[in-house]
Amino acid sequence: MSSILNGIPYVFVAAPLFAFILNNAVPRERMRSHAVALSGGVAALQLAAAILGFALLAASGRGEVRFGLFWSVDAAGAAYLRVNLVSLFLLLCVGFVALASALTAAKTIDDHRCSFANLFMALLLGMNGMLLATDLFTLYVFLEITGTASFVLIAMYKSSKGLEGAFKYLTMSALATIMMLTGLALLFMHTGSLAFADLGAAALSGASGEMDILCYGALALLISGFAIKAGAAPFHSWLPDAHQSADTAVSILLSGIVIKIAGAYGFIVLVELFGDLYAVRLSVAALGVATIAFGALLALVQTHFKRIAAYSSVSQVGYILFGIAAGSPLGLVGALLHVFSHAAFKSTLFSGAAALHEQLGTLDIEQMGGLQKNMPVTGFASVTSFLSAAGVPPFAGFWSKLLILISLWQAGWIGLSAAALGLSILTGAYFLRLQKKVFFGPRNPRWDDVKEIGGTIRASQIVLSAVNLGAGLCFPLVLLYLQSIGLI
Protein backbone atom coordinates (compact mmCIF):
# COMPACT_ATOMS: atom_id res chain seq x y z
CA MET A 1 0.00 0.00 0.00
CA SER A 2 2.79 2.33 0.91
CA SER A 3 4.41 2.06 -2.52
CA ILE A 4 1.12 2.99 -4.21
CA LEU A 5 0.85 5.98 -1.89
CA ASN A 6 4.41 7.04 -2.71
CA GLY A 7 3.69 6.77 -6.43
CA ILE A 8 0.43 8.74 -6.50
CA PRO A 9 1.89 12.28 -6.23
CA TYR A 10 3.81 11.79 -9.48
CA VAL A 11 0.49 11.46 -11.34
CA PHE A 12 -0.32 15.11 -10.68
CA VAL A 13 2.85 16.26 -12.44
CA ALA A 14 3.32 13.54 -15.04
CA ALA A 15 -0.23 13.30 -16.42
CA PRO A 16 -0.61 16.94 -17.61
CA LEU A 17 2.99 16.96 -18.90
CA PHE A 18 2.47 13.72 -20.81
CA ALA A 19 -0.76 15.00 -22.36
CA PHE A 20 1.00 18.26 -23.25
CA ILE A 21 3.82 16.40 -25.03
CA LEU A 22 1.44 14.02 -26.80
CA ASN A 23 -0.67 16.95 -27.99
CA ASN A 24 2.33 18.50 -29.69
CA ALA A 25 4.10 15.33 -30.85
CA VAL A 26 1.18 13.92 -32.84
CA PRO A 27 0.29 15.79 -36.06
CA ARG A 28 -2.38 18.41 -35.46
CA GLU A 29 -4.97 17.19 -37.92
CA ARG A 30 -4.90 13.77 -36.29
CA MET A 31 -4.88 15.17 -32.75
CA ARG A 32 -7.59 17.74 -33.37
CA SER A 33 -10.60 15.57 -32.64
CA HIS A 34 -9.01 13.86 -29.61
CA ALA A 35 -7.28 16.77 -27.87
CA VAL A 36 -10.18 17.76 -25.62
CA ALA A 37 -11.00 14.12 -24.87
CA LEU A 38 -7.37 13.59 -23.82
CA SER A 39 -7.61 16.57 -21.45
CA GLY A 40 -10.80 15.15 -20.01
CA GLY A 41 -9.00 11.83 -19.49
CA VAL A 42 -6.18 13.57 -17.62
CA ALA A 43 -8.74 15.35 -15.44
CA ALA A 44 -10.53 12.08 -14.68
CA LEU A 45 -7.22 10.40 -13.86
CA GLN A 46 -6.35 13.23 -11.51
CA LEU A 47 -9.75 12.96 -9.82
CA ALA A 48 -9.32 9.21 -9.28
CA ALA A 49 -5.70 9.55 -8.10
CA ALA A 50 -6.63 12.30 -5.63
CA ILE A 51 -9.51 10.28 -4.14
CA LEU A 52 -7.32 7.17 -3.83
CA GLY A 53 -4.43 9.18 -2.42
CA PHE A 54 -6.66 10.89 0.15
CA ALA A 55 -8.09 7.58 1.39
CA LEU A 56 -4.65 5.89 1.53
CA LEU A 57 -2.95 8.85 3.25
CA ALA A 58 -5.74 9.14 5.82
CA ALA A 59 -5.56 5.38 6.52
CA SER A 60 -1.75 5.34 6.76
CA GLY A 61 -1.66 7.98 9.49
CA ARG A 62 1.28 9.82 7.89
CA GLY A 63 1.04 13.57 7.77
CA GLU A 64 2.43 14.07 4.29
CA VAL A 65 4.17 12.28 1.44
CA ARG A 66 7.40 13.93 0.31
CA PHE A 67 8.77 13.43 -3.15
CA GLY A 68 11.20 14.92 -5.63
CA LEU A 69 10.99 14.75 -9.40
CA PHE A 70 14.55 13.97 -10.48
CA TRP A 71 16.32 14.29 -7.16
CA SER A 72 16.45 12.52 -3.84
CA VAL A 73 14.59 14.13 -0.97
CA ASP A 74 16.27 12.20 1.85
CA ALA A 75 19.33 14.43 2.20
CA ALA A 76 19.12 17.06 4.93
CA GLY A 77 17.99 20.43 3.63
CA ALA A 78 17.05 19.07 0.19
CA ALA A 79 14.15 20.74 -1.57
CA TYR A 80 11.07 18.56 -1.90
CA LEU A 81 7.48 18.58 -3.08
CA ARG A 82 4.76 17.12 -0.90
CA VAL A 83 1.12 16.18 -0.74
CA ASN A 84 -0.90 16.28 2.46
CA LEU A 85 -4.62 15.88 3.11
CA VAL A 86 -5.38 19.53 2.37
CA SER A 87 -3.56 19.54 -0.96
CA LEU A 88 -5.00 16.15 -1.95
CA PHE A 89 -8.51 17.46 -1.31
CA LEU A 90 -7.82 20.54 -3.42
CA LEU A 91 -6.24 18.36 -6.14
CA LEU A 92 -9.52 16.42 -6.11
CA CYS A 93 -11.44 19.68 -6.63
CA VAL A 94 -9.09 20.66 -9.48
CA GLY A 95 -9.67 17.31 -11.22
CA PHE A 96 -13.43 17.60 -10.71
CA VAL A 97 -13.74 21.09 -12.20
CA ALA A 98 -11.32 20.24 -15.01
CA LEU A 99 -13.51 17.27 -15.94
CA ALA A 100 -16.66 19.44 -15.94
CA SER A 101 -14.85 22.00 -18.08
CA ALA A 102 -13.61 19.38 -20.55
CA LEU A 103 -17.18 18.04 -20.93
CA THR A 104 -18.40 21.55 -21.77
CA ALA A 105 -15.39 22.30 -23.98
CA ALA A 106 -16.13 19.25 -26.14
CA LYS A 107 -19.17 21.17 -27.37
CA THR A 108 -18.29 24.86 -27.07
CA ILE A 109 -14.70 24.92 -28.36
CA ASP A 110 -14.74 24.73 -32.15
CA ASP A 111 -11.50 26.32 -33.35
CA HIS A 112 -8.01 25.87 -31.97
CA ARG A 113 -8.89 22.74 -30.03
CA CYS A 114 -5.22 21.70 -29.78
CA SER A 115 -4.17 25.09 -28.46
CA PHE A 116 -7.01 24.98 -25.97
CA ALA A 117 -5.91 21.52 -24.80
CA ASN A 118 -2.28 22.67 -24.46
CA LEU A 119 -3.18 25.71 -22.40
CA PHE A 120 -5.62 23.64 -20.38
CA MET A 121 -2.84 21.21 -19.47
CA ALA A 122 -0.49 24.10 -18.61
CA LEU A 123 -3.19 25.53 -16.34
CA LEU A 124 -3.69 22.15 -14.69
CA LEU A 125 0.06 21.76 -14.19
CA GLY A 126 0.31 25.25 -12.70
CA MET A 127 -2.47 24.60 -10.19
CA ASN A 128 -1.12 21.16 -9.25
CA GLY A 129 2.35 22.64 -8.80
CA MET A 130 1.01 25.31 -6.43
CA LEU A 131 -0.59 22.61 -4.31
CA LEU A 132 2.60 20.51 -4.22
CA ALA A 133 5.01 23.38 -3.46
CA THR A 134 6.81 23.62 -0.13
CA ASP A 135 8.28 27.08 -0.39
CA LEU A 136 6.79 30.45 -1.16
CA PHE A 137 8.97 31.04 -4.22
CA THR A 138 7.93 27.78 -5.93
CA LEU A 139 4.36 28.70 -5.07
CA TYR A 140 4.87 32.03 -6.85
CA VAL A 141 6.40 30.43 -9.97
CA PHE A 142 3.50 28.00 -10.37
CA LEU A 143 1.08 30.85 -9.67
CA GLU A 144 2.55 32.66 -12.67
CA ILE A 145 2.16 29.54 -14.84
CA THR A 146 -1.48 29.31 -13.78
CA GLY A 147 -1.95 33.00 -14.46
CA THR A 148 -0.27 33.05 -17.86
CA ALA A 149 -2.26 30.03 -19.06
CA SER A 150 -5.50 31.70 -17.98
CA PHE A 151 -4.70 35.03 -19.67
CA VAL A 152 -4.04 33.32 -22.97
CA LEU A 153 -7.14 31.13 -22.57
CA ILE A 154 -9.28 34.27 -22.16
CA ALA A 155 -7.68 36.16 -25.05
CA MET A 156 -7.32 33.13 -27.33
CA TYR A 157 -10.16 33.90 -29.74
CA LYS A 158 -9.13 37.54 -30.14
CA SER A 159 -12.66 38.82 -29.70
CA SER A 160 -12.74 42.44 -28.63
CA LYS A 161 -14.26 41.50 -25.25
CA GLY A 162 -11.88 38.62 -24.62
CA LEU A 163 -8.84 40.81 -25.24
CA GLU A 164 -10.24 43.53 -23.01
CA GLY A 165 -10.97 41.09 -20.18
CA ALA A 166 -7.52 39.52 -20.50
CA PHE A 167 -5.80 42.93 -20.52
CA LYS A 168 -7.57 44.00 -17.33
CA TYR A 169 -6.84 40.66 -15.66
CA LEU A 170 -3.20 40.75 -16.71
CA THR A 171 -2.63 44.31 -15.51
CA MET A 172 -4.14 43.58 -12.09
CA SER A 173 -2.24 40.32 -11.93
CA ALA A 174 1.07 42.04 -12.71
CA LEU A 175 0.37 44.43 -9.83
CA ALA A 176 -0.33 41.41 -7.62
CA THR A 177 2.98 39.90 -8.73
CA ILE A 178 4.86 43.08 -7.82
CA MET A 179 3.24 43.19 -4.38
CA MET A 180 3.81 39.51 -3.68
CA LEU A 181 7.43 39.54 -4.83
CA THR A 182 8.21 42.63 -2.76
CA GLY A 183 6.68 40.86 0.22
CA LEU A 184 8.72 37.74 -0.53
CA ALA A 185 11.90 39.83 -0.86
CA LEU A 186 11.29 41.44 2.53
CA LEU A 187 10.64 38.05 4.15
CA PHE A 188 13.76 36.66 2.46
CA MET A 189 15.77 39.62 3.75
CA HIS A 190 14.61 38.83 7.26
CA THR A 191 14.76 35.03 7.44
CA GLY A 192 17.19 34.03 4.65
CA SER A 193 14.87 31.30 3.36
CA LEU A 194 11.41 31.01 1.87
CA ALA A 195 10.72 27.33 2.70
CA PHE A 196 7.52 26.83 4.70
CA ALA A 197 9.55 25.01 7.34
CA ASP A 198 11.72 28.09 8.02
CA LEU A 199 8.90 30.62 8.08
CA GLY A 200 6.34 31.36 10.73
CA ALA A 201 5.36 33.99 13.26
CA ALA A 202 8.18 32.86 15.57
CA ALA A 203 10.81 33.18 12.82
CA LEU A 204 9.68 36.72 12.10
CA SER A 205 9.69 37.99 15.66
CA GLY A 206 13.19 36.61 16.36
CA ALA A 207 14.87 36.60 19.74
CA SER A 208 13.48 39.87 21.08
CA GLY A 209 9.87 38.82 20.52
CA GLU A 210 9.17 42.16 18.83
CA MET A 211 8.32 42.07 15.16
CA ASP A 212 10.02 44.31 12.66
CA ILE A 213 7.80 46.85 10.91
CA LEU A 214 9.17 45.46 7.63
CA CYS A 215 7.67 42.05 8.42
CA TYR A 216 4.23 43.58 8.88
CA GLY A 217 4.77 45.33 5.54
CA ALA A 218 5.73 42.03 3.92
CA LEU A 219 2.63 40.29 5.26
CA ALA A 220 0.39 43.16 4.14
CA LEU A 221 1.88 43.00 0.64
CA LEU A 222 1.45 39.21 0.46
CA ILE A 223 -2.17 39.45 1.64
CA SER A 224 -2.95 42.19 -0.92
CA GLY A 225 -1.32 40.17 -3.70
CA PHE A 226 -3.32 37.04 -2.97
CA ALA A 227 -6.46 39.16 -2.54
CA ILE A 228 -6.06 40.45 -6.10
CA LYS A 229 -5.58 36.87 -7.36
CA ALA A 230 -8.64 35.68 -5.41
CA GLY A 231 -10.79 38.55 -6.66
CA ALA A 232 -11.52 39.70 -3.11
CA ALA A 233 -13.11 43.15 -2.69
CA PRO A 234 -11.86 45.87 -3.15
CA PHE A 235 -9.62 44.20 -5.75
CA HIS A 236 -12.45 42.39 -7.57
CA SER A 237 -12.90 44.71 -10.56
CA TRP A 238 -11.03 42.49 -13.06
CA LEU A 239 -12.86 39.29 -12.20
CA PRO A 240 -16.33 39.77 -13.75
CA ASP A 241 -14.78 41.23 -16.93
CA ALA A 242 -12.37 38.33 -17.35
CA HIS A 243 -14.90 35.63 -16.49
CA GLN A 244 -17.66 37.09 -18.66
CA SER A 245 -15.52 37.51 -21.74
CA ALA A 246 -13.91 34.06 -21.75
CA ASP A 247 -15.37 31.02 -23.49
CA THR A 248 -17.78 29.27 -21.13
CA ALA A 249 -15.54 26.20 -20.73
CA VAL A 250 -12.77 28.56 -19.63
CA SER A 251 -15.15 30.44 -17.32
CA ILE A 252 -15.89 27.16 -15.56
CA LEU A 253 -12.17 26.70 -14.90
CA LEU A 254 -11.58 30.30 -13.84
CA SER A 255 -14.60 30.69 -11.60
CA GLY A 256 -14.72 27.12 -10.41
CA ILE A 257 -11.14 26.60 -9.35
CA VAL A 258 -8.47 29.07 -10.53
CA ILE A 259 -9.48 31.91 -8.19
CA LYS A 260 -9.52 29.46 -5.29
CA ILE A 261 -6.18 27.82 -5.97
CA ALA A 262 -4.41 31.04 -7.02
CA GLY A 263 -6.02 33.17 -4.32
CA ALA A 264 -7.66 31.26 -1.49
CA TYR A 265 -4.93 28.59 -1.28
CA GLY A 266 -2.43 31.41 -0.83
CA PHE A 267 -4.45 32.55 2.17
CA ILE A 268 -4.54 28.98 3.50
CA VAL A 269 -0.73 28.91 3.36
CA LEU A 270 -0.40 32.36 4.94
CA VAL A 271 -2.75 31.53 7.82
CA GLU A 272 -1.02 28.18 8.30
CA LEU A 273 2.35 29.95 8.57
CA PHE A 274 1.43 33.22 10.28
CA GLY A 275 -1.97 32.39 11.81
CA ASP A 276 -0.58 33.03 15.29
CA LEU A 277 -0.62 36.72 14.46
CA TYR A 278 -4.12 37.97 15.17
CA ALA A 279 -3.65 40.81 12.65
CA VAL A 280 -3.26 38.36 9.75
CA ARG A 281 -6.45 36.48 10.56
CA LEU A 282 -8.35 39.71 11.21
CA SER A 283 -7.35 41.23 7.87
CA VAL A 284 -8.39 38.05 6.03
CA ALA A 285 -11.74 38.18 7.82
CA ALA A 286 -12.16 41.88 6.96
CA LEU A 287 -11.46 41.09 3.30
CA GLY A 288 -14.02 38.29 3.59
CA VAL A 289 -16.87 40.47 4.85
CA ALA A 290 -16.22 43.19 2.22
CA THR A 291 -16.02 40.54 -0.51
CA ILE A 292 -19.29 38.86 0.42
CA ALA A 293 -21.17 42.16 0.61
CA PHE A 294 -19.74 43.74 -2.58
CA GLY A 295 -20.09 40.59 -4.67
CA ALA A 296 -23.68 39.95 -3.66
CA LEU A 297 -24.83 43.57 -4.00
CA LEU A 298 -23.24 43.97 -7.44
CA ALA A 299 -24.67 40.61 -8.59
CA LEU A 300 -28.15 41.98 -7.87
CA VAL A 301 -28.02 44.59 -10.65
CA GLN A 302 -26.34 42.68 -13.51
CA THR A 303 -28.12 41.64 -16.70
CA HIS A 304 -25.56 39.24 -18.20
CA PHE A 305 -25.90 35.61 -17.08
CA LYS A 306 -22.17 34.95 -16.77
CA ARG A 307 -21.57 38.30 -15.07
CA ILE A 308 -24.07 37.39 -12.34
CA ALA A 309 -22.29 34.05 -11.93
CA ALA A 310 -18.91 35.83 -11.76
CA TYR A 311 -20.07 38.28 -9.07
CA SER A 312 -21.53 35.32 -7.23
CA SER A 313 -18.03 33.76 -7.31
CA VAL A 314 -16.64 36.95 -5.76
CA SER A 315 -19.21 36.71 -3.01
CA GLN A 316 -18.64 33.00 -2.34
CA VAL A 317 -14.85 33.46 -2.14
CA GLY A 318 -15.65 35.72 0.83
CA TYR A 319 -17.14 32.74 2.69
CA ILE A 320 -14.01 30.70 1.94
CA LEU A 321 -11.89 33.54 3.35
CA PHE A 322 -14.09 33.55 6.48
CA GLY A 323 -13.45 29.87 7.03
CA ILE A 324 -9.70 30.35 6.55
CA ALA A 325 -9.64 33.38 8.86
CA ALA A 326 -11.20 31.40 11.70
CA GLY A 327 -7.83 29.67 11.92
CA SER A 328 -9.18 26.49 13.49
CA PRO A 329 -9.18 22.99 11.91
CA LEU A 330 -12.98 23.21 11.70
CA GLY A 331 -12.76 26.51 9.83
CA LEU A 332 -10.22 25.07 7.39
CA VAL A 333 -12.41 22.01 6.78
CA GLY A 334 -15.40 24.31 6.24
CA ALA A 335 -13.42 26.45 3.80
CA LEU A 336 -12.18 23.41 1.86
CA LEU A 337 -15.65 21.91 1.70
CA HIS A 338 -16.98 25.26 0.50
CA VAL A 339 -14.32 25.20 -2.22
CA PHE A 340 -15.78 21.85 -3.28
CA SER A 341 -19.45 22.80 -3.06
CA HIS A 342 -18.81 26.12 -4.79
CA ALA A 343 -16.87 24.31 -7.51
CA ALA A 344 -19.84 21.97 -7.97
CA PHE A 345 -22.59 24.57 -8.10
CA LYS A 346 -20.62 27.14 -10.09
CA SER A 347 -19.71 24.50 -12.70
CA THR A 348 -23.40 23.61 -12.90
CA LEU A 349 -24.35 27.23 -13.39
CA PHE A 350 -21.72 27.82 -16.09
CA SER A 351 -22.72 24.59 -17.87
CA GLY A 352 -26.21 26.11 -17.89
CA ALA A 353 -24.70 29.27 -19.37
CA ALA A 354 -23.01 27.18 -22.06
CA ALA A 355 -26.31 25.44 -22.85
CA LEU A 356 -28.19 28.75 -23.07
CA HIS A 357 -25.48 30.31 -25.21
CA GLU A 358 -25.42 27.35 -27.60
CA GLN A 359 -29.22 27.24 -27.95
CA LEU A 360 -30.16 30.94 -27.80
CA GLY A 361 -27.00 32.71 -28.94
CA THR A 362 -27.34 35.33 -26.21
CA LEU A 363 -26.80 35.49 -22.45
CA ASP A 364 -28.73 38.70 -21.78
CA ILE A 365 -31.23 37.70 -19.11
CA GLU A 366 -33.62 40.55 -20.00
CA GLN A 367 -34.35 38.78 -23.30
CA MET A 368 -34.99 35.39 -21.72
CA GLY A 369 -37.93 34.10 -19.74
CA GLY A 370 -40.04 30.97 -19.37
CA LEU A 371 -37.33 28.65 -20.66
CA GLN A 372 -38.14 25.97 -18.07
CA LYS A 373 -40.51 24.21 -20.50
CA ASN A 374 -38.03 24.27 -23.41
CA MET A 375 -34.95 23.33 -21.42
CA PRO A 376 -36.06 21.22 -18.44
CA VAL A 377 -32.63 19.70 -17.71
CA THR A 378 -30.87 23.07 -17.73
CA GLY A 379 -33.66 24.56 -15.62
CA PHE A 380 -33.48 21.76 -13.06
CA ALA A 381 -29.67 21.86 -12.86
CA SER A 382 -29.82 25.62 -12.40
CA VAL A 383 -32.32 25.23 -9.55
CA THR A 384 -30.06 22.74 -7.73
CA SER A 385 -27.10 25.10 -8.05
CA PHE A 386 -29.21 28.02 -6.83
CA LEU A 387 -30.41 26.09 -3.78
CA SER A 388 -26.87 24.91 -3.00
CA ALA A 389 -25.51 28.47 -3.34
CA ALA A 390 -28.21 29.93 -1.14
CA GLY A 391 -27.40 27.36 1.54
CA VAL A 392 -30.72 25.52 1.59
CA PRO A 393 -30.53 22.09 3.26
CA PRO A 394 -29.87 19.34 2.24
CA PHE A 395 -27.69 20.71 -0.60
CA ALA A 396 -23.88 20.72 -0.32
CA GLY A 397 -23.61 24.50 0.11
CA PHE A 398 -25.69 24.42 3.30
CA TRP A 399 -23.27 22.17 5.17
CA SER A 400 -20.09 23.97 4.19
CA LYS A 401 -21.57 27.36 5.09
CA LEU A 402 -22.81 25.91 8.39
CA LEU A 403 -19.31 24.69 9.28
CA ILE A 404 -17.87 28.12 8.43
CA LEU A 405 -20.48 29.87 10.62
CA ILE A 406 -19.79 27.52 13.54
CA SER A 407 -16.03 28.01 13.21
CA LEU A 408 -16.45 31.81 13.21
CA TRP A 409 -18.62 31.51 16.31
CA GLN A 410 -15.98 29.37 18.03
CA ALA A 411 -13.26 31.88 17.11
CA GLY A 412 -15.21 34.49 19.05
CA TRP A 413 -16.33 36.50 16.02
CA ILE A 414 -20.06 36.42 16.70
CA GLY A 415 -20.71 39.64 14.78
CA LEU A 416 -18.99 38.29 11.67
CA SER A 417 -20.91 35.05 12.00
CA ALA A 418 -24.18 36.99 12.08
CA ALA A 419 -23.04 39.07 9.09
CA ALA A 420 -22.24 35.91 7.11
CA LEU A 421 -25.68 34.55 7.91
CA GLY A 422 -27.42 37.82 7.02
CA LEU A 423 -25.53 38.30 3.76
CA SER A 424 -26.42 34.80 2.57
CA ILE A 425 -29.96 36.17 2.17
CA LEU A 426 -28.53 38.34 -0.63
CA THR A 427 -27.20 35.20 -2.30
CA GLY A 428 -30.75 33.88 -2.33
CA ALA A 429 -31.99 37.20 -3.71
CA TYR A 430 -29.75 37.46 -6.76
CA PHE A 431 -30.12 33.80 -7.68
CA LEU A 432 -33.89 34.03 -7.31
CA ARG A 433 -33.85 37.03 -9.68
CA LEU A 434 -31.75 35.01 -12.15
CA GLN A 435 -34.10 32.03 -11.99
CA LYS A 436 -37.18 34.20 -12.41
CA LYS A 437 -35.83 36.12 -15.39
CA VAL A 438 -34.42 33.09 -17.22
CA PHE A 439 -36.52 30.05 -16.46
CA PHE A 440 -39.83 31.22 -14.95
CA GLY A 441 -42.42 33.76 -15.95
CA PRO A 442 -43.90 34.35 -19.42
CA ARG A 443 -41.89 33.11 -22.37
CA ASN A 444 -40.48 35.46 -24.94
CA PRO A 445 -42.13 34.29 -28.22
CA ARG A 446 -38.71 34.43 -29.87
CA TRP A 447 -37.72 31.26 -28.04
CA ASP A 448 -40.78 29.11 -28.89
CA ASP A 449 -38.77 26.60 -30.91
CA VAL A 450 -35.76 26.37 -28.61
CA LYS A 451 -34.75 22.79 -27.80
CA GLU A 452 -32.87 21.30 -24.85
CA ILE A 453 -29.13 20.94 -25.28
CA GLY A 454 -27.82 17.42 -25.90
CA GLY A 455 -24.51 15.61 -25.74
CA THR A 456 -21.79 16.16 -23.20
CA ILE A 457 -23.17 19.41 -21.77
CA ARG A 458 -26.42 17.68 -20.83
CA ALA A 459 -24.45 14.77 -19.33
CA SER A 460 -22.29 17.12 -17.29
CA GLN A 461 -25.36 19.04 -16.08
CA ILE A 462 -27.02 15.84 -14.89
CA VAL A 463 -23.86 14.61 -13.14
CA LEU A 464 -23.16 18.00 -11.56
CA SER A 465 -26.68 18.44 -10.21
CA ALA A 466 -26.45 14.90 -8.82
CA VAL A 467 -23.21 15.96 -7.09
CA ASN A 468 -24.88 19.11 -5.70
CA LEU A 469 -27.64 17.05 -4.15
CA GLY A 470 -25.72 13.83 -3.46
CA ALA A 471 -22.81 15.55 -1.69
CA GLY A 472 -25.36 17.31 0.50
CA LEU A 473 -27.24 14.11 1.34
CA CYS A 474 -24.02 12.20 2.12
CA PHE A 475 -22.56 15.07 4.09
CA PRO A 476 -23.14 13.62 7.58
CA LEU A 477 -21.20 10.53 6.41
CA VAL A 478 -18.35 12.77 5.18
CA LEU A 479 -18.27 14.52 8.54
CA LEU A 480 -18.17 11.19 10.40
CA TYR A 481 -15.32 10.07 8.13
CA LEU A 482 -13.37 13.28 8.74
CA GLN A 483 -13.91 12.83 12.47
CA SER A 484 -12.74 9.22 12.32
CA ILE A 485 -9.44 10.25 10.70
CA GLY A 486 -9.03 12.98 13.30
CA LEU A 487 -9.37 16.09 11.11
CA ILE A 488 -12.10 17.78 13.15
Binding site: L163, E164, T177, T182, A185, L186, G192, Q244, T303
Partner: protein, 101 residues
Amino acid sequence: MSMPTVVLIAGLVMILAGCVGLIRTHHMLKIIIGLEVAMKAVTVFIILGGFLNGRMALAQAFVVTVIVVEVVTAVVLSGIAISLYRKHGSMDIRNLRSLKG
Protein backbone atom coordinates in the same frame (compact mmCIF):
# COMPACT_ATOMS: atom_id res chain seq x y z
CA MET B 1 26.06 56.19 2.46
CA SER B 2 26.59 52.46 2.55
CA MET B 3 25.97 50.24 -0.47
CA PRO B 4 22.77 48.54 0.80
CA THR B 5 21.15 51.91 1.52
CA VAL B 6 21.90 53.12 -2.00
CA VAL B 7 20.46 49.94 -3.50
CA LEU B 8 17.38 50.16 -1.27
CA ILE B 9 16.76 53.78 -2.29
CA ALA B 10 17.30 52.92 -5.96
CA GLY B 11 14.75 50.09 -5.67
CA LEU B 12 12.20 52.33 -3.96
CA VAL B 13 12.66 55.05 -6.59
CA MET B 14 12.21 52.48 -9.38
CA ILE B 15 9.04 51.05 -7.88
CA LEU B 16 7.65 54.53 -7.34
CA ALA B 17 8.57 55.58 -10.88
CA GLY B 18 6.90 52.46 -12.29
CA CYS B 19 3.69 53.05 -10.33
CA VAL B 20 3.54 56.77 -11.19
CA GLY B 21 4.12 55.94 -14.85
CA LEU B 22 1.34 53.36 -14.64
CA ILE B 23 -1.18 55.77 -13.15
CA ARG B 24 -0.42 58.87 -15.22
CA THR B 25 -1.01 57.46 -18.68
CA HIS B 26 -3.76 56.06 -20.88
CA HIS B 27 -1.36 54.46 -23.34
CA MET B 28 -1.15 50.66 -23.22
CA LEU B 29 2.56 50.37 -24.01
CA LYS B 30 3.42 52.97 -21.38
CA ILE B 31 1.42 50.95 -18.85
CA ILE B 32 3.39 47.83 -19.79
CA ILE B 33 6.67 49.75 -19.43
CA GLY B 34 5.57 51.05 -16.01
CA LEU B 35 4.76 47.52 -14.86
CA GLU B 36 8.11 46.25 -16.13
CA VAL B 37 10.07 48.99 -14.35
CA ALA B 38 8.26 48.21 -11.09
CA MET B 39 8.92 44.49 -11.53
CA LYS B 40 12.61 45.11 -12.17
CA ALA B 41 12.72 47.02 -8.88
CA VAL B 42 11.60 43.84 -7.12
CA THR B 43 14.63 41.93 -8.41
CA VAL B 44 16.78 44.66 -6.84
CA PHE B 45 15.07 44.01 -3.50
CA ILE B 46 15.71 40.26 -3.80
CA ILE B 47 19.41 40.84 -4.51
CA LEU B 48 19.56 43.19 -1.55
CA GLY B 49 17.94 40.53 0.65
CA GLY B 50 20.49 37.93 -0.47
CA PHE B 51 23.33 40.34 0.17
CA LEU B 52 22.13 41.23 3.68
CA ASN B 53 21.71 37.66 4.91
CA GLY B 54 24.63 36.18 2.99
CA ARG B 55 22.63 33.87 0.72
CA MET B 56 23.62 35.36 -2.59
CA ALA B 57 23.42 32.03 -4.51
CA LEU B 58 19.76 31.55 -3.57
CA ALA B 59 19.01 35.19 -4.39
CA GLN B 60 20.59 34.82 -7.83
CA ALA B 61 18.50 31.72 -8.54
CA PHE B 62 15.36 33.65 -7.53
CA VAL B 63 16.27 36.65 -9.68
CA VAL B 64 16.95 34.61 -12.81
CA THR B 65 13.61 32.84 -12.38
CA VAL B 66 11.78 36.13 -11.81
CA ILE B 67 13.33 37.61 -14.96
CA VAL B 68 12.12 34.65 -17.04
CA VAL B 69 8.61 34.83 -15.59
CA GLU B 70 8.55 38.57 -16.18
CA VAL B 71 9.51 38.23 -19.82
CA VAL B 72 6.65 35.79 -20.35
CA THR B 73 4.22 38.25 -18.74
CA ALA B 74 5.58 41.11 -20.87
CA VAL B 75 5.23 39.06 -24.07
CA VAL B 76 1.63 38.06 -23.34
CA LEU B 77 0.73 41.60 -22.30
CA SER B 78 2.22 43.15 -25.44
CA GLY B 79 0.59 40.50 -27.61
CA ILE B 80 -2.79 41.40 -26.15
CA ALA B 81 -2.01 45.11 -26.57
CA ILE B 82 -1.13 44.61 -30.25
CA SER B 83 -4.34 42.64 -30.89
CA LEU B 84 -6.32 45.42 -29.17
CA TYR B 85 -4.54 47.98 -31.35
CA ARG B 86 -5.63 46.06 -34.43
CA LYS B 87 -9.24 46.05 -33.16
CA HIS B 88 -9.51 49.69 -32.09
CA GLY B 89 -6.82 51.40 -34.13
CA SER B 90 -5.41 53.10 -31.05
CA MET B 91 -3.48 52.25 -27.92
CA ASP B 92 -5.76 54.22 -25.61
CA ILE B 93 -7.12 52.21 -22.68
CA ARG B 94 -10.19 54.43 -22.63
CA ASN B 95 -11.41 52.30 -25.56
CA LEU B 96 -11.70 49.32 -23.22
CA ARG B 97 -15.24 50.01 -22.11
CA SER B 98 -17.31 47.26 -23.66
CA LEU B 99 -17.46 45.25 -20.43
CA LYS B 100 -19.46 47.16 -17.86
CA GLY B 101 -21.96 46.73 -15.08
